[in-house]
Amino acid sequence: MYAQFFGNFLLSRNIVTCDQLIQAMKKKSTEHMKLGTLAIHASYMTAKEVDEIYIEQTHQDKRFGELAIKDGYLTKAQVTELLKDQGPDYLLLGQVLVEEGIIDNEQLQSLIIEYQSANELDDFVDYSEETQESIQHLVENFFVATERPLSAFEVSFLQLLFNNLIRFIGDDFTPVYPYPCTEYPTNYCVSQQILGEFSIKIFIDMTKSTAIEFASRYVGDTFDEFDEYVQSSIEDFLNLHNGLFNVNISNEHSVELNLTPPEREMTELLSFNNEGYLLPIVFPFGTIHFILVVTTSR
């Protein structure tokens, strides 16, 4: 997840243009070596075992290494070794930018130091509690611009959202700093509400052409027109994400939440109170806008 935030860090400092970043993220994504692939290469796991873990990851928000240890496929030492081989993915993004001649190695070095110290990151990424904390910290830092502190539940929600985008759509995106939003003109917009101890209403909005590409990636099929399946896949993604969030919260905090069915927003202009904030996610095929409205019902 670090590379996506590193991309935003570079963009916000005008080190790269949006186009340069999109291209570099795309290239990074194709060069990124997954932990499962490294485990097969090291003969620690079979392809079937790796696939099993990938399926498990779609049902529970856990890292590959964590699940592989739990299922007895890898030892802690093996995961540590594979993670060392893999290296942090933001370094790969930096390397792509150097190869493309957008920055030089000296710049990369100082940018990495700046990025690491701004987010209190260590060089070495593992699956420990500390790494979990640093990802939380990264998400919290990222949302400073919304000028409102995030609750622990919101941090979990956002972390899961980034993970689900990586798992179900692709890792070649850059999140743009979120900002408070009182009005939003819709394109194709779907919303869903999580209700319970607290309430989150989440909107997902994109243009029709972006929706076609989004659906193609989500379903793993090629769609050519903005049909009912494309529309349904956006509702499906939202419903899947929110369902998994409810499972996480139930398992980790014993808090039971409910979901309303996803709904198409027909209004051309959405209006919000102060609680709403807009989170744009830039993919090579277009930008997806998430709007989150969080309220506490206690």
């Binding site: 399926i55 779609t58 349904s232 499906d236 899947l240 369902g243 499972v247 039971e256 979901l259 069915p261």
Partner: protein, 125 residues
């Protein structure tokens, strides 16, 4: 597997989810399909067609999956209902089982889980 004479009802508000489930089932045979996009429709179709197997989502408009299971089981206590949902919390599972669901498949659906459900019900011999 003998699916040719089977009647299967899929109740899900997502047309994509219905299609994905149908595609997996069709890879195993060609039953007669019935579809419903909310809980009330699922109840109505059940009463009309008496399917052998029902796949139901939980979060649906008009009437949710658990309410639909209760009504279907009230009408037919032998109804064979499998929940397919992304909301797999312990309390949701408990509620679905208490309502009368016999199995649970967590979304995103994995083809092997669906095949397992079909094999345990329609295996020859």
């Amino acid at each position: 597997m003998i699916l040719e004479n089977a009647k299967i009802l899929i109740g899900d508000d997502s047309i994509l989810a219905r299609k994905q489930l149908k595609d997996v089932i069709l890879s195993q045979g060609s039953p007669t399909f019935f579809e419903a996009s909310n809980g009330q429709e699922a109840i109505d179709v059940y009463k009309k067609e008496s399917p052998d197997l029902v796949f139901l989502d939980i979060v649906m408009p008009v009437k949710d999956g658990n309410a639909a299971i209760r009504e279907i089981r009230e009408y037919d206590p032998t109804a064979d209902i499998v929940i397919v949902s992304s909301v797999g919390t312990q309390s949701q599972l408990k509620a679905a089982i208490e309502a009368g669901a016999k199995d649970f498949i967590q979304k995103p659906m994995n083809a092997d889980q669906v095949k397992r459900v079909l094999h345990t019900r329609f295996e020859r011999g």
